[in-house]
């Protein structure tokens, strides 16, 4: 409670900047590890806050706002940044100070946002970031002149090398005033007149402060969709006034939509020519040449597929050793506890339920770590945006934006950040389509299921000299997910959520050496999240499952019969007729039911079930993989699992929803149950029918 109390008294500082200006690196440098991530009430834009500690020991809350190009932007992410700086968000105080992160090598465009912040009379300090890159590019910036032109303090920084951080801290430690200069950019006279008049009306009718009224007046007069979007926020009389203003300006032949942007850029040009000297080389740079290859319509695609293949191959082969170590340690711990405790239900619960279940899932941590490591590197080098660029051609064929590909690619790691990443998509319908199909793209939670099945049933053969069959199977599963996602997107765009293919405009950040620190930090955060889930949901489900698989107790029954007659066994038998055509028996049925919450629970469930089943055996080094390989139907003697069952199970898991956290996130993002319920239904139907087809074809092929 104490921390809550002090938080209210602390100064609130916001940090804002264009995408790719290095805002997050600076945020990390200023706050260290003292961060927490939450959500803004009502909307699901991630709210990232940190504590900044000054030299004198005093503290302040630093709020990381989403990257934006302007305060008149339209995606949900960008809107929240605007709303906070205008003091429109509940429970988030208007920041006392704004740290504006500016990419020094890209001063012109970055100053556009700064001019809006200065207009709003917010106390501001400019962090002129990536100063080294600008100098290397031959751009000399006169800090004093720039500071004088803007009327705010300007501190050169290099976030990636932690340069200028102390100076920046010192600059924001004390009291900061809004820009000392009045608005410098000039609107054409007729626009200025209308703007002043409207500003007066807004101040009068809506009791807005001068800078906010000016901001609203500009938006109402010049933003293309202002009237349709902000209609309900203003008095009807005022809206009528704005409509008359529009007519007047149109009659005068003024392009309302471009006039403000042009006026601002005129001013920015004056600032830049006063404060900078450019000796930029003209001609092809190294980045140009890289881009010509990496975004080539043939080579770019080949390289992309190649990178993905290498990624999944290495996830499979490199992670093997640490995985076996982890598995052995869990077995060892289980055996120790088994030996130490007296026989009884409690021992079974701890060894089979808790250690067996959680251990089965935690074993996959190394693969998850490698996956996030790769994705982190792809993002940090600047390649991810190129992947979106290459994929835009394919995405536009199914009616989506290349930007929709980034959420899909992050869904490789986890659908939740993937779904949250859809917030950068401006069109509501496209955003919804991306959300609906994102969980189809295989994510890390399915990896344990794939890994278990592949390791147990796909022979370790080498294909074409360099590829291993297990690795290729994994790639095939990921491609299946991607194909399904794109096909379903196409279907949705043609039927439920019809709209035109959106315009592709996307910034491609410069290529750079990845920062190991930020990649590792990201990997660390995600791994902790995975372990937390293992320690909470999976532990809970494992215990419940152990209970359901152990009771009601039978007298003198063999472990197999016991499992057969248990609650879980009965449930499995109950759904067996439904899943039989997919090649699944009742034990897999238990796994399917258990994993409705979370896919990786399937593995822990199998771990629990097979541990219970074999409880009478000596506890030894029999891994779950071997259990599955050796399991046969007690009546017919036919193996429960074959390569075909394994493939069917993987196909089912590629396509089925099976993740309650994703459902929860989709519900939050769409503000209702309609879309998540629709999503569960269509994905289950899709998973069932495709698995059915695969199994039946497989049976025919096996006979032939």
């Amino acid at each position: 409670m104490n921390s809550l109390k002090t938080e209210i008294q602390l100064r609130h500082i916001a940090i804002i900047g264009n995408p790719n200006a290095g805002k997050t690196t600076l945020f990390n440098a200023l706050t260290g590890m003292r961060q927490k991530v939450g959500n803004y009430p009502g909307v699901t834009v991630e709210k990232k806050e940190g504590r900044i500690i000054f030299e004198d020991g005093s503290e302040a809350v630093l709020l990381d706002l989403p990257g934006t190009y302007s305060l008149t932007a339209n995606s949900p992410d960008e809107k929240i940044a605007t709303d906070i700086l205008l003091g429109r968000v509940d429970h988030t105080p208007l920041p006392e100070l704004v740290v504006c992160v500016v990419d020094a090598s890209n001063l012109e465009r970055n100053l556009y946002l700064i001019s809006q912040i200065i207009d709003n009379r917010l106390p501001a300090v400019v962090a002129l970031n990536m100063f080294d890159v600008a100098e290397r590019d031959g751009l000399k910036i006169d800090i004093q002149k720039l500071s004088a032109e803007l009327g705010v303090k300007v501190i050169p920084t290099v976030g990636s090398k932690s340069l200028g951080i102390e100076e920046l801290k010192a600059a924001i430690a004390g009291h900061v005033e809004p820009s000392s200069r009045s608005r410098q950019w000039i609107l054409p006279a007729p626009v200025q007149e209308e703007c002043d008049e409207l500003k007066g009306l807004l101040q009068q009718m809506h009791r807005l402060s001068e800078p906010i009224a000016f901001h609203e007046a500009i938006v109402l007069l010049t933003s293309p969709s202002a009237l349709s979007e902000h209609n309900d926020r203003f008095a009807p009389g005022l809206i009528e006034h704005v409509k008359r203003d529009h007519q007047k300006l149109d009659l005068l032949g003024i392009d309302r939509h471009s006039v403000v942007v042009e006026s601002r850029y005129e001013w920015i040009k004056r600032v830049c020519s006063a404060a900078t000297v450019s000796h930029r080389r003209r001609g092809m740079s190294a980045s140009d040449k890289i881009d010509q290859i990496l975004t080539h319509r043939v080579w770019g695609f080949v390289i992309f597929i190649g990178l993905m293949t290498i990624m999944f191959q290495s996830i499979f082969s490199w992670a093997n050793v640490p995985m076996e170590l982890l598995g052995d340690s869990f077995n060892w711990v289980g055996a120790q506890v088994y030996a130490m405790m007296p026989a009884g239900d409690l021992r079974d619960l701890i060894v089979n339920g808790a250690i067996g279940g959680v251990g089965a899932v935690v074993t996959f941590l190394p693969q998850i770590i490698f996956l996030f490591l790769f994705i982190g590197f792809l993002e940090d080098t600047g390649y991810m945006a190129r992947a979106a660029f290459i994929m835009d051609r394919m995405m536009s064929k199914v009616g989506l934006h290349g930007k929709s590909f980034i959420p899909l690619l992050s869904s490789f790691a986890c659908a939740i950040p993937g779904i949250m990443a859809t917030r950068t998509i401006e069109s509501r319908k496209d955003r919804l389509v991306t959300m609906l199909v994102a969980p189809l793209v295989s994510r890390s939670a399915r990896l344990p299921v794939y890994a278990l099945m592949i390791a147990a049933f796909i022979p370790r053969k080498t294909v074409l000299g360099i590829f291993s069959l297990p690795g290729l199977t994994l790639v095939a599963m990921y491609l299946l997910g991607l194909t399904a996602a794109l096909s379903m997107a196409w279907v949705f765009k043609k039927t439920l959520l019809k709209s035109e293919a959106p315009a592709f405009i996307m910034e491609l950040p410069p290529y750079k050496m990845p920062s190991f620190k930020s990649v590792l930090l990201h990997m660390w955060e995600r791994s902790i999240l995975f372990l937390k889930r293992a320690g909470t949901i999976i532990l809970g489900v494992s215990i419940v499952l152990w209970f359901l698989a152990t009771y009601p107790k039978l007298e003198r029954a063999s472990p197999s019969e016991q499992l057969n007659q248990s609650f879980a066994g009965r449930a499995g038998h109950l759904i067996e007729p439904i899943i039989k055509p997919l090649g699944f028996d009742w034990k897999i049925g238990i796994g399917l039911i258990g994993s409705i919450l979370q896919r990786e629970v399937f593995v822990s469930t199998m771990g629990t079930i097979y541990n219970i089943k074999d409880a009478k055996h000596e506890r030894g080094n029999v891994s779950l993989r071997e259990h599955l390989q050796q399991d046969v139907d007690p009546v017919s003697g036919v193996p429960t699992f074959t390569a075909l069952t394994a493939i069917c199970l993987m196909v089912y898991y590629v396509l089925a929803m099976q993740c309650m956290s994703t459902v929860a996130v989709v519900r939050r993002e769409t503000n209702g149950w309609k879309w998540p319920l629709f999503q569960i239904s269509y994905m289950t139907a899709l998973a069932y029918s495709v698995t059915f087809i695969v199994y039946q074809i497989g049976l025919v092929l096996a006979e032939g």
Binding site: T72, N74, N106, H257, E262, R280, R282, M506, E507
Partner: protein
């Protein structure tokens, strides 16, 4: 349209040109302007593929699709 004016998708890679006019839908134009593609801005084409192209404006690379590029009218600038 002046005969020396072309669309952004027609100019050779590496050439510097100046934006004269944006013909897209108002909200697309607004987005383009805010990202630096305003009238009189200097642009250089970096990659011109079949589907999409990359150009440099204000020292930043931006990917665009052909239909937008065809709505950006430019004049040569050296």
């Amino acid at each position: 349209m002046n005969s020396s004016h072309k669309t952004l998708s027609e100019i050779p890679v590496g050439r510097f040109v100046q934006i004269r006019e944006l013909l897209s839908e108002p909200d697309v134009c607004h987005r383009l302007r805010e990202m630096g593609f305003c009238e009189n801005a200097i642009v250089r084409l970096v990659v011109n593929g079949e589907g999409n192209l990359i150009c440099e404006v204000c020292n930043t690379r931006v990917g665009l699709n052909q239909s937008i590029a065809q709505d950006i009218i430019v004049a040569s600038f050296e």
